[in-house]
Amino acid sequence: MNLESFWVVSWVNSIGFLSGLPEWCYAAISLLCIFFFVLIPSLVFIVFFDRKLSADLQARVGPNRAGPAGVLQPIADLLKLLQKDTRSPWGWIESLWISIHSMVLYSSLAVIPLGSLALLLDTEMSAFLPFWSALVLALGTILLGLSQGTVAGWFGGIRVAAQALSGAFPALISLLCTGVRAGGFRWTVLAGSQGFAPWSWTVASNPFQAIAFLVFVMSGLVLLGIAPLEGGQSMSDIHGGVATHLSGRRLVLFRFGRFYGFFCWSVISVVLFLGAWNLPLQFRELLVRAELYPLIGFFELVCLLMKTFCLMMVIVWIARVNPRSRVDQITDFTWKVLSPFSLSALVGAGIWAGWRAFL
């Protein structure tokens, strides 16, 4: 862990009696900081804009009661859900679900690439770790569906399993495409191979990377069961699937898990294909000359989050104006369209990279 570079550590050390804590304490504090200062605000922001944008696209009004233009609606929703269904006991499978989701959250927060400010861990395998986290998240969701004890829940669980299996393959292959261009799977390597300007992004480097980008985003949506491509949570035919009987705190946790998957996948897509957290070179040099290193990290985080929000909004846009797909159509699409396209993109990207090396 490159904890030394993380600003939280020096901040904690500056408090006299806290200096000299074991490393895991620093890691835990850093994770909590990322959780509360990056993830939760992003969630509130995205939930609000998701609802407003959906309402606009569907010619509705959307939330407009809580606060000016309804900005306090996510908080109002949270408070409402937290006071519902507080007493029913947790079954053991549900406990398993929640512990799996917490573990995924805790472990993948350390590797989620949020710019140099919050990059705790960077290994040769970095780009694969959140990918496995997404699969484990799907496992937790399957267990949740099976724990419902209803047909809708069982079917939801089975569908989530089918989607996760079908989405994993093209996601993995298109992940390899970026590695072929960048020459490694470290976050820093992947980010370093791109620049701030759109024409220096991986997605714009050649047509095969563009295909890989589209496949990566779509297969992530399939893998995690997110809006345009969700079959496991379908409202119309299985009444919300795995979330049928969830209410109160459990629904908050479930929604948070789904949001986390969505957010995480968008961040990774941006880092892999859309120029990561790179700032304009002159601007960065200016900050380096002024020795404002924490500010560099902050601007990198802002840059990354802006791109992420744009990507998420585009996905929401597509999701809200198109009819929901059936689960068999989704898996069919994933196996028959996304997989061949990802494979051809991998071959093309490999040839392209080899050709460039040959030149």
Binding site: L53, D56, L57, Q58, A59, W317, I318, R320, V321, N322, V337, F341
Partner: protein, 180 residues
């Protein structure tokens, strides 16, 4: 399934299907996009096809005894308050005072609150001078509740007007007394 097709034509139709799918997604996205910024005609709120040219009735098509919005002809109204008494939803509010002539009542306020009216027609039935009638108008939608109150009164009387009328009445009364 596609045994009769050649590999190339199968591949081409596959790619065509993918492109058409992508195009249909793009098309629906583009169709919905102006709604985000309320461009052009989307800015103003319109209800299209109202009244429906096929099925809607106009006021003339209504049956003869249909009960539309109420109207009170204040010149014929005697201010007997029968309608206010019989109204089951208490939506009629009347205030009155003696007018210039002793036989005339000055109906200063005659308000009908259509947000509470149930259009039962009892007020029209009890109206002795037949000043309160149902019109054939039925489109009473309004943006605010206060807009639903229909006022037919003659308006409040000023203090000096009241004194003037009182003197006038006094004069008429005294002249009548003297004549008898």
């Amino acid at each position: 399934m596609r045994s009769k097709e050649s590999l190339l034509s199968a591949l081409l139709s596959y790619i065509r299907d993918v492109c058409m799918g992508a195009w249909s997604i793009t098309e629906s996205c583009l169709t919905a996009f102006p709604y985000v910024f309320r461009w052009g005609d989307l800015r103003k709120e319109v209800t299209e096809g109202y009244p429906d040219p096929v099925s809607s009735k106009t006021a003339d098509d209504l049956p003869p005894r249909s009960r539309g919005l109420l109207f009170n002809d204040i010149d014929r109204c005697t201010g007997c308050k029968e309608c206010q008494t019989i109204c089951p939803s208490a939506c009629i509010h009347i205030e009155e005072e003696p007018g210039a002539d002793i036989s005339k009542i000055w109906v200063s306020i005659f308000d009908i609150d259509f947000s509470q009216c149930i259009f039962c027609g009892l007020c029209v039935e009890v109206c002795q001078p037949a000043s309160l009638v149902h019109t054939r108008q039925y489109e009473g939608a309004a943006y605010h509740l206060t807009d639903l109150v229909a006022s037919f009164g003659r308006g409040q009387v000023t203090e000096e007007q009241r004194a003037k009328w009182a003197a006038l009445r006094q004069a008429i009364e005294s002249s009548e007394v003297s004549s008898t």
